[in-house]
Symmetry: C2
């Protein structure tokens, strides 16, 4: 296995705000961005990782990656993968840098990029897509990748092992199923808040024609507009599943009152109804809006927030984010927590590179952890995939399982050149 010899960062931004793709109640002009890190080695492979942001501040993530990088540069990959939980603990517990979080915000987003790059490198060296690398780990190796710190009051290593061992004998069948059928997805591209009525109708029709049966819309600025949006989407999609996403815009009581207006539309879930830190608030909302489910997680800072969301019975759907959590290791921890509490994992995606990432994570969840597709669906939005060497691919409204070695966020050289901020062509 190679040695990591250096790390280089790159500030990559796509000018998505020009079309209002990705716009919602609180993020009205997102430029889908990736703070990239490239781990050079003394072998033929390069580890590529990223964290996702929506524009300004992406450079702060690059700078934070630069500060954390010495914790992996100079190390043998063999040493790192023999104890990835140890690597993760070092990255999240630098005696000085942890003050900036701990385990949240810029420093944690940067941790994700580095951790994801190490896993990408490992998968490339093993010549496997990341999801297959993880699905080929033994239950013991899987739990060795998890830092159980702050989780042991609800889930310790032995309980996690039991859970993984119970699924291990039937892994092969689920791998074959995924390779044949893919992983179920839903589409957000039709419902961005900034889109006008006709655009939404057109996009719904296109999506239906493409086989989509599960849709999401943005809500939260104007209740009458939300009702209208839900009406027209229902007109277009019939009784297909419809979810709504408020992107943190409401207070607790406001969320409950607002959702009464959306009762007629049979929503499957309301997503991010309030502050992502408000575990008890989500629990109160969930009690009030049932049978509509509550979903959150794309802004849940770390596994400790997810632990509490589940302890408090605050969510029906667990929306992991591949970059908000501290990379693969912490995602594995949250998959285990979700299985322990019986909460289905429906990853957040859409933004640059996130679809490429979550297809692996949902596959790992199904094969190794949950063993179920019930109530599971991974987000998809059809933006920016053209930049990736191995883009996420959808067939029959399902993610086609990636086959290329690695963790799928390598871009074409010309895309890096085009999207580099501020020097790239699109920013001139």
């Amino acid at each position: 296995m190679p040695r990591i010899t250096s790390a280089r960062t790159l500030d990559v931004r796509a000018p998505t705000s020009r079309t209002l793709a990705g716009s919602d109640a609180v993020h009205q002009d997102p430029d889908y961005s990736g703070a990239y890190v490239f781990l050079a080695t003394d072998g033929p492979h390069e580890g590529v990782g990223m964290t996702f942001t929506i524009g300004r501040g992406n450079d702060l993530c690059c700078a934070a990656i630069d500060q954390l990088a010495p914790l992996v540069v100079g190390r043998d990959l063999a040493e790192l993968v023999a104890d990835t939980a140890g690597m993760w603990r070092r990255l999240t517990n630098d005696g000085q840098l942890r003050w900036l979080g701990p385990e949240k915000g810029v420093i944690h987003l940067a941790t994700a990029a580095l951790v994801n790059a190490v896993w990408d490198l490992w998968a490339k060296v093993e010549a496997k897509p990341l999801w297959r690398l993880v699905c080929d780990l033994s239950p013991e190796q899987f739990v060795d990748a998890v830092d159980f710190r702050y989780l042991t009051d609800v889930l310790d290593r032995d309980q996690a092992l039991d859970l993984l061992r119970a699924r291990a004998p039937t892994r092969a069948g689920r791998i074959a199923e995924l390779e044949r059928d893919g992983y179920p997805a839903y589409i957000t591209s039709a419902g961005w808040l900034g889109y006008d009525e006709q655009t939404v109708r057109d996009l719904c029709r296109e999506a239906l024609a493409d086989g989509w049966r599960c849709f999401k819309t943005k809500v939260g600025i104007d209740v009458a507009a939300d009702v209208r949006r839900c009406e027209l989407m229902r007109e277009e999609i019939g009784d297909a599943a419809l979810m709504a996403d408020a992107n943190q815009v409401w207070d607790v009581d406001e969320a409950i009152a607002w959702m009464r207006h959306l009762e007629p539309f049979g929503l499957r879930w309301i997503e991010e109804p309030t502050s992502p830190d408000d575990v008890l608030g989500h629990a109160a909302i969930r009690r009030a809006v049932a049978p509509v489910g509550v979903a959150t997680g794309e802004h849940a800072a770390n596994r400790v927030i997810f632990k509490q969301l589940m302890q408090a019975g605050a969510i029906d759907y667990c929306q992991i984010d591949a970059c908000r959590l501290g990379g693969v290791n912490e995602v594995l921890a949250v998959l285990l927590l979700a299985a322990r509490f019986g909460v289905p994992v429906c990853p957040h995606a859409g933004g640059l590179g996130l679809c490429e990432y979550v297809q692996h994570l949902s596959a790992i969840d199904y094969v190794c952890v949950s063993g179920s597709l019930d109530d599971r669906t991974a987000e998809f939005a059809d933006h920016c995939h053209e930049h990736f060497v191995h883009p996420a691919t959808i067939r029959n409204a399902r993610y086609v399982m990636p086959t290329a070695p690695g963790y799928s966020v390598d871009m074409h050289p010309e895309s890096y050149a085009e999207l580099t901020y501020p020097g790239g062509r699109v920013w001139q």
Copy 2:
């Protein structure tokens, strides 16, 4: 009132790790640091603000301040102070930068520096120390400084107004009392984890001789060493109040088990027993370790975490931090929450500039919000004060109320020069 014409940042770091001042179970080599911002104006005054870190990554906070600064530069102070809650909402809800938090980590630490600088400027223009500026606001003006977003399920503007109005008629008496007697404090300088036994004994004796009657020690690495540390401090300080601080080192069940060993020492509180994000974990610990109190907050990311700590009955003491929260405005919100739930506020301090800040905040709490000194004590540690133009001053183990205009973190020009990282003399 002046117009803010430009903002400049400075990375200031004191090499405290060389003496192990500030060392604890998870921060073993802190260099007390301030990410400073200087708001130049077209008048005679400069607004000075800072956020506190412990070394590496302080530059990330400076860079984040630079990104937020355009939201205040070019504005008239009169416009900003007419709606400081609006200013705060703009700083915390930039459509792209908020992704980096929201309201946590580097971007929120940076928010604090800028917000504190605006309040400093306002106080200088009014020729008042910050605490007097706030104590001279009407209840209406006070609540106008608070962003109640995400709080209204437990505290809305009208309830806050009622609370402040009830205290308003008796403010003058409390102001006079504080100006005469100061605000009660406790001392942490004796108990840093890296100190040897004799150093701790010597520091306890010195502190007792100086009139201190309330002490804190660090714990959490080795239970036998903690028992020994508590024994020797009890030997030295007799029945004076003793608190212990674990700095997030334990899991929930581990905290409960560990605290059984410290039962003989009659601790007033255990501070940061587990992850600062774990509201439900703190609640479980509190139930188990009573009558020892639970204290936390120096790493509570924002008012939403504090809201839940109080809703869940998780804390006996609310340890606001002047820089972890998003500056004066969000501190005022948490003071109101604490009064609403009847939880005493005992600010975190010690690090560079924090003592200078919290003396103002405790005074505001007493005069305007809580109206009580019962169970209240503000942290003090005797490090780095020599760098400040108007350093925090202790007399009879109480903070002497500041009288100089502003918010007290201006340093001597030679201290800025000496501590600037990496160019300053101490870093050569």
